[in-house]
């Protein structure tokens, strides 16, 4: 399972970076979304993957017995997903406005503010 997750994360990073390097505005925003997903999955993988061992103290016991899942990475990922959603929604609107105002989706044509 961890190997599968690691491979997925790697593929997502590669695809995200590749799309960021393309000239199209649409591919740019898809690349950003993929990078965000890659980071989220990376947190999940780094926080140990375990199945079927919820961190709940059984009735009668006073402490957790060791193999148990860590709930914190999931809380982190949940926060990151919500933040990422907001930011990516803004990026989509911004790119749409930029496309409407500039009349092109070619990033190489958006160079008037460069020096």
């Amino acid at each position: 399972m961890e190997l599968l997750l690691a491979l997925t994360v790697g593929v997502l990073y590669a695809a995200g970076v590749y799309l960021l390097l393309r000239r199209s505005l649409v591919k740019l925003v898809i690349g950003l979304v993929l990078l965000g997903h890659a980071a989220n999955l990376l947190i999940m993988a780094a926080g140990r993957v375990s199945a079927g061992v919820p961190p709940i103290i059984p009735a009668g016991a006073t402490a957790l017995t060791p193999p148990h899942a860590d709930p914190l990475p999931q809380a982190l990922v949940l926060t990151a997903i919500v933040i990422g959603f907001g930011v990516q929604a803004f990026a989509l609107v911004l790119l749409k406005r930029a496309y409407q105002v500039a009349g092109t989706d070619d990033l190489d044509a958006l160079h008037t503010t460069d020096t």
Binding site: G16, L20, L25, L28, L32, L35, G36, A38, A39, N40, L42, I43, A45, A46, G47, R48, L72, P73, L76, T79, A80, I83, G86, V87, Q88, F90, A91, L94, L95, R97, A98, V101, A102, L107, L110, H111, T112, T113, D114, T115
Partner: protein
């Protein structure tokens, strides 16, 4: 309570100005009140830290490594105070310079959200919480940058948003790996955990990830290209706020993690110093090549970041003290210069050096407002920049890092050259024919000139009262270099 105020005051004012969406007067009032309130809470926090040492709040009473911790040591308190000063200056300047359309679309609320994010980033003691504050700050800055919807603004915003989102993704990955390796995200708890981590390479990996993530936000070489492409596009009030605060948050985060979480090693120290030198050089060379006031100043922001990085890279008490003193100095001086560029634009209708001129004859006071921070930035004694550079050069010589010290000296000379370029073209040269000469009302002079004069005065004060200011910077540096007091204050045990 004092620790939460710099976050709560802007939050409250942002919410109020959103509720008062229809009333421009109420929103303006909220904007100014929020800035003044932030300055007041910054002063109170600063006084409390001076009196009682490191302040700590465990949010929700969750004990230290488990909950979110807010910490204020000397560096954090100074940065929050500085944020308050810049916020007030920009709030007043915005009243006199901003067009009503931008204000009606939520300018004041966005500025307050930005201030909240900046103060949160300065005060948090938790790596993931820092990520959250960064995002709060970023989303507000995205909207502020694009607010107005001019073509140049949108083009600049595309680059700014893209690179900052990449930086956030890298930061998030670093936070996830940190938790996976150490099982904690609390700065104080991390201080001794990462050194004892089972895989020695992990520390270096994290250091590089964090360097890239914060380096993009701080605009270090070679990750700074978004800054000169975007900072000159929004109105001057927004540019001043960004150049004063946003890159400094990146540098603050670098200082925090490279003193506390991943201390400098034989690999990272030379790397930081090399990057520092290259940042100084590329920034100032870019500035010299420009013919537009705001673009020139934007490149200077990059150049000055190099000096801050040099102080961090030297990792000596004197070097870090120099970095802290320099950070305050450059924030004040650079903000004053940006505000003056706004006044010049008001008077002459342009930022292009070719189309300016004759300002010394027509407006000697405006020229003075430019001259003082410009000389301070170039490092002319007895202004603040002189002491800042003196500290860094002394630290560089003491640590025998000759190359970066020589670079800092040479770049200082080039800084003076580029400042004289603006001075000669815009102020001293005769005005080219057909230059419009707008007149400002008394109210506009007060609202536009007042903040610039106040910030200029502060750079003079920092230079004249250099001894207490440097003493303060040295106390901040001592706390950074010996984190035991920080760790003890947060975790409640030595």
């Amino acid at each position: 309570m004092l620790l939460v105020l710099p976050i709560l005051v802007p939050f409250f004012c942002a919410a109020t100005s959103l509720l008062a969406w229809r009333s421009l007067t109420a929103q303006r009032l909220c904007g100014v009140a929020g800035a003044v309130g932030l300055l007041a809470s910054g002063v109170a926090l600063f006084a409390a830290v001076q009196r009682a040492g490191i302040l700590v709040v465990q949010v929700g009473n969750w004990p230290a490594p488990f909950g979110i911790t807010l910490v204020a040591d000397v560096l954090s308190a100074v940065m929050v105070l500085l944020t308050g000063v810049i916020a007030v200056a920009v709030a007043v300047f915005a009243l006199g310079s901003l067009d009503g359309r931008r204000e009606r679309f939520g300018y004041h609320a966005l500025v307050q959200v930005l201030l909240m994010g900046v103060c949160g980033a300065f005060l948090t003691g938790d790596l993931f919480n820092l990520y959250v504050w960064f995002e709060v700050m970023l989303i507000a800055s995205f909207a502020l940058l694009a607010l107005g919807g001019e073509r140049a603004q949108l083009e600049g915003a595309v680059k700014y948003v893209t690179l900052n989102l990449v930086s956030s993704a890298v930061f998030l990955a670093a936070a996830g790996i940190t938790y996976g390796v150490t099982g904690t995200l609390n700065f104080a708890d991390l201080a001794h955990r990462l050194a004892a981590a089972p895989h020695p390479g992990v520390g270096l990996t994290l250091a590089m990830l964090l360097l890239v993530a914060f380096g993009i936000k701080a605009a270090i070489f070679p990750l700074f290209f978004w800054l000169p492409a975007s900072y000159h596009t929004p109105p001057v009030a927004v540019t001043t706020l960004f150049s004063g605060l946003l890159t400094k948050v990146g540098v603050y985060a670098l200082i925090r993690v490279f003193t506390l979480v991943v201390p400098l090693t034989a690999v990272t120290q030379p790397l930081l110093l090399t990057v520092a030198g290259l940042t100084m050089v590329t920034g100032v060379l870019g500035a010299i090549a420009q013919h537009e006031m705001r673009r020139l100043l934007a490149f200077h922001v990059v150049s000055q970041i190099g000096y801050l990085l040099m102080g961090l890279g030297l990792a000596s008490p004197l070097g870090l003290a120099g970095a802290v003193y320099f950070m305050v100095h450059v924030t004040l001086a650079k903000s004053a210069l940006f505000l003056v560029s706004g006044i010049v634009q008001r008077l002459r209708g342009s930022f292009e050096l070719d189309r300016l001129g004759g300002l010394w004859r027509d407006h000697p006071y405006v020229s003075l407002l430019f001259l003082v921070p410009a000389l301070a930035l170039a490092g002319i004694p007895p202004l603040s920049g002189f002491w800042a550079k003196l500290l860094l050069l002394q630290a560089g010589l003491a640590a025998a890092h000759w190359w970066v010290t020589a670079t800092a000296l040479a770049v200082s000379l080039l800084t003076l050259f580029s400042m004289t370029k603006i001075w000669a073209a815009a102020f001293w040269a005769a005005a080219p024919p057909g230059v419009p000469g707008a007149a400002l009302t008394r109210r506009q002079w007060l609202l536009l000139g007042g903040p610039a004069a106040g910030l200029g005065l502060l750079t003079v004060l920092m230079g004249v009262a250099a001894d207490p200011a440097i003493g303060l910077a040295q106390r901040a540096a001592a706390q950074l270099l010996d984190p035991s007091a920080y760790v003890a204050a947060v975790l409640g045990r030595p």
